[in-house]
Symmetry: C2
Subunit: 326 residues, 2 copies
C-alpha cells in the first residue's frame, strides 16, 4: 500500500483526502495516517491540511522499495523491486533469485555493497548514500552466444535514462562503460548461468556514480559522478525508474531480431570510440586501429593501419588521447 | 583416516597389522579398531587374524567419500569428494560451491537425487542404490565460447572409464550421450556461470545407469544400464575413480590447445553417428544429412543431400534407423 499511496501523491497536483485513500485501499484513517507518518520519517515532505488532505511537497534522494516502485512506469522491467540498504552484491542476489526462478525483470537495488563486483572478479567500490547498485534478472529465450549483446542494451538504457532525468549527454565506451568528459560514470557487469545451448538466466548489473562529490585518490582521474558533472544532486530512484523504462523498450527491440540491428544506430550515436583511433588489446596481441562502430551483433568494427576491417569480440579496447583514460 | 586405511587395505595383497596402522596414523589401537568396525558395517568384508592383522576380502558396491577417495588416482580431478546419500541435484551443489570458490576438480557425488536435472530443465530420474550422479567443478581459463567443448571431454572420459572398469565398448551420441546397443547409459549436463568474456565456473554433471535391472515403462526402450548389458554388477566407486582418471588426462590435453584437436580422433572413434545418416533438427528447420565426425571445436560436420558440408553447433541431432532412439 505504501508504494501505491506514494505513487498517488506523486501523480496528484493537488490534495488527496484521507477519506479517498481509506476508500481506495479499504483501510482505516489510522492506517493511512501511519503510512503518511512513515513516509515523513523517511524524508518526504508531506503537507496535511484539514478538510483538504495530503499533498507531497518534495521527495528526498531516498531509495526504498516503495519509492522506486512508485516511480516505475514499466510492464515488467523493474516492476518487482528487491531493495537492500546493504548487501554483498546485487548481482549475487539476482543470480540466487534466478536459480530459484524469481520473475523476469525482478530488479535488485542496494544503497551499499560490501562485496561489489567489477569485471573478472575485480572489486567495485560501493559506498553508501551516493550510488546506484542495481541488477536486473532476465530469462531471454535466445542462444547463450547472443546473451553478451544484452550488456550493450543496458549501456544504451543507462545513457538514455541519464539523459531523460538530467539532460546530460553521456557516451558509451565499447562495450559497456558509460563515460562523460572522459571519465567513467557507470560500469556494467553481465553474468549468466547457461547450459551449452540454453540460458538458465542472465543478470545485468549496473553501478552508477550519482551523488559523489569526490573519489578516492586511485580513481580520481578516471571516475566522475552525475553530481560532479551537473553541479547538483540527482534523485537516484527517479534515475532507476527512467533506466528501467528505457531498458524495457530497448530489450523488446532486441528480442524481436535477437540482435542489435534495431539498436545499432542508436548505440553508435552514443559511442565515444566512434571514428577515433583505438588501441586493440588482445591476449598476446596489441595494435592500433580506427573504430568504425559496432555491427549488429555488438562487435566493434575497426580498420587497421593496413586498411583491413576487423570485427572485435569481447576484447578490451582503449581509446588513445583526448578522452582521458577511455 | 578412513579413506587412507581403506586405501592401504585395498593396495595391500597381504595382512596389515593393527600396530602398523596405529603407528602410521599416530592413533590408538581402539581408534583403528573403530574404523575397521565402521567399514564392516558399511559392507566391507574384512578379515581380522590375530598376530597378522587385517585383510580386505571384498568391497561392496558402496558409495561414500571414504570409498571413492580411497580409489582415486588423480592429481586434482575428484581428489576432493563431497558425497551425499540424497541431494537435490549434484549440479546445483557444484554451482553453489563454484560461487563460493571451492577447489578446482571438487567432485560432488550422490546416491540419489530428489531434483535431478536433464537438459533444458527436464527431469532426470534419479533413484537410489543403482546409479552414479556426479558433478565436477572447474575454473577453466578459456573463453566462455569454448566451454561447451568440455562436455565432449567428459563424454570421452565416461566412455573410457566404462571401458577400463568393465571392458564394455560404449559409443557417444553427439554431442554427449553415452549409448550402448542403441540405448542410453549416460547423460551429461554442463552448466556454467560466466561474464561476457570470462568464466566464473563450469560444472559438468554425469548421470550414469550402472546397476539397474529395469527401467520405468516410458524410458524402457531407450535406456539401459551397465548391469543389463554386462549381466553383472559394477562397483560404482571404482567407475567414478576410473572416469576421473580419464577426465583429468583428457582435460589436460584439451586446455593445452583450448580445443579438441588432441581428442578429435579419439572422440570420432567412439562416435555412434560417424558415417551415418542423421536428421538435423534446427529451430524451424529439419533436414537429413550424413555425419562425418566432429571438427576440432566439437561441431558435428555433416554433408547434406546437395553435397554441401555444414558444421552444426549445439543443435539437436538424431540418428535414423538401426540404433533405436539415437
Amino acid at each position: 500500500m505504501k508504494s501505491e499511496i506514494l505513487r498517488l501523491l506523486k501523480e496528484s497536483n493537488t490534495y488527496i483526502s484521507g477519506q479517498q485513500l481509506c476508500e481506495q485501499f479499504q483501510v482505516s484513517r489510522t492506517a493511512v495516517w501511519k503510512v503518511i507518518d512513515q513516509l515523513k520519517k523517511e524524508g518526504y515532505q508531506i503537507e496535511a491540511v484539514r478538510n483538504k488532505g495530503y499533498r507531497l511537497i518534495d521527495s528526498p534522494d531516498v531509495m526504498s522499495k516503495a519509492e522506486i516502485e512508485s516511480l516505475m512506469d514499466t510492464k515488467w522491467a523493474g516492476s518487482n523491486v528487491v531493495y537492500y540498504d546493504e548487501i554483498d552484491s546485487t548481482n549475487n542476489r539476482a543470480k540466487e533469485a534466478g536459480d530459484n526462478k524469481a520473475p523476469q525483470g525482478t530488479l535488485f537495488v542496494a544503497d551499499m555493497q560490501v562485496a561489489g563486483k567489477g569485471r573478472r572478479g575485480r572489486v567495485w567500490q560501493s559506498p553508501a548514500g551516493s550510488s546506484i547498485y542495481m541488477t536486473i534478472l532476465l530469462y531471454p529465450e535466445i542462444s547463450p552466444l547472443k546473451a553478451p549483446q544484452l550488456t550493450l542494451v543496458m549501456a544504451i538504457a543507462v545513457a538514455e535514462g541519464i539523459k531523460e532525468v538530467t539532460g546530460l549527454d553521456t557516451k558509451i565506451k565499447w562495450p559497456n562503460d558509460i563515460v562523460v568528459n572522459g571519465r567513467k560514470i557507470c560500469g556494467i557487469l553481465t553474468e549468466m548461468s547457461t547450459e551449452i545451448d540454453y540460458i538458465n538466466h542472465v543478470v545485468i548489473g549496473a553501478g552508477i556514480n550519482v551523488n559523489q562529490d569526490d573519489f578516492p585518490e586511485d580513481i580520481r582521474k578516471t571516475a566522475s559522478s552525475l553530481k560532479m558533472e551537473l553541479g547538483k544532486q540527482v534523485k537516484r530512484s527517479e534515475l532507476i525508474a527512467a533506466i528501467m523504462k528505457s531498458f524495457e523498450k530497448d530489450y523488446e527491440i532486441f528480442v524481436k531480431t535477437e540482435d542489435l540491428s534495431g539498436l545499432q544506430e542508436l548505440y553508435n550515436s552514443m559511442l565515444v570510440n566512434l571514428d577515433r583511433d583505438v588501441k586493440v588489446l588482445e591476449p598476446g596481441n596489441e595494435y592500433e586501429a580506427h573504430a568504425l562502430g559496432i555491427n549488429k551483433t555488438g562487435e566493434l568494427i575497426v580498420r587497421t593501419a593496413e586498411g583491413e576491417e576487423k570485427e572485435i569480440y569481447a576484447g578490451e579496447v582503449s581509446v588513445r588521447g583526448v578522452y582521458g583514460y577511455v
